[in-house]
Amino acid sequence: MEADMLVRDYLGRLEAAAWPLAADRRRELVAEVREHIESALAEAKERDEVTTRNVLERLGAPEEIVAAEVEGEPSARFAPPGQVSIERAPAWGFSEIAAIGLLTVGAVFLPIVGPLIGLVFVWASAQWTTPQKAVASVVVAGVLLLPILFLFGASVGAGPF
């Protein structure tokens, strides 16, 4: 069926254009768009080639949808009518500013304590995933351990032999 082929082709182009997105988000985006196309076609009560082309044209080019997504502005245009699109929380909140501030400037003014408090804010933030928080913690702990390792090396080097 020509209409189904058009939809498949469109979703294929969308998936290909969405390569900069994380695999999870890419799948989610394709599913969202597919759902929107289906609901628009159901609403139109027609599933012929012309109706499908109109629906796809209204959505815009797949590359434009991906570009909007990459810019962090999920396009509201494919939100089903009457449904409020989910807005993302702004990336920079108090926790994020405090975390980055304490990890950088805080490390100079409050050595050791500053970055550690910064990590508390990192873990309190909802903007980073648990693995990302864990990586940041390991980086801080690992680099802070360097002087201790040097001290250990120095004490071994200064031993009786």
Binding site: T104, P111, G118, L119, Q132, G142, L146, P147, A158
Partner: protein, 33 residues
């Protein structure tokens, strides 16, 4: 090992730890949950 080298490493490591973590977190900001 010379104590002054250990001191320099310690002084550099503390801000470096935070800055490296901050660069990583800023690069990931908004791509998380």
């Amino acid at each position: 090992m010379d104590a002054s080298i250990i001191g320099i490493v310690a002084i550099l490591a503390i801000p470096l730890a935070g800055i490296l973590a901050a660069i990583y977190l800023v690069s990931r900001l908004g791509r998380g949950q």
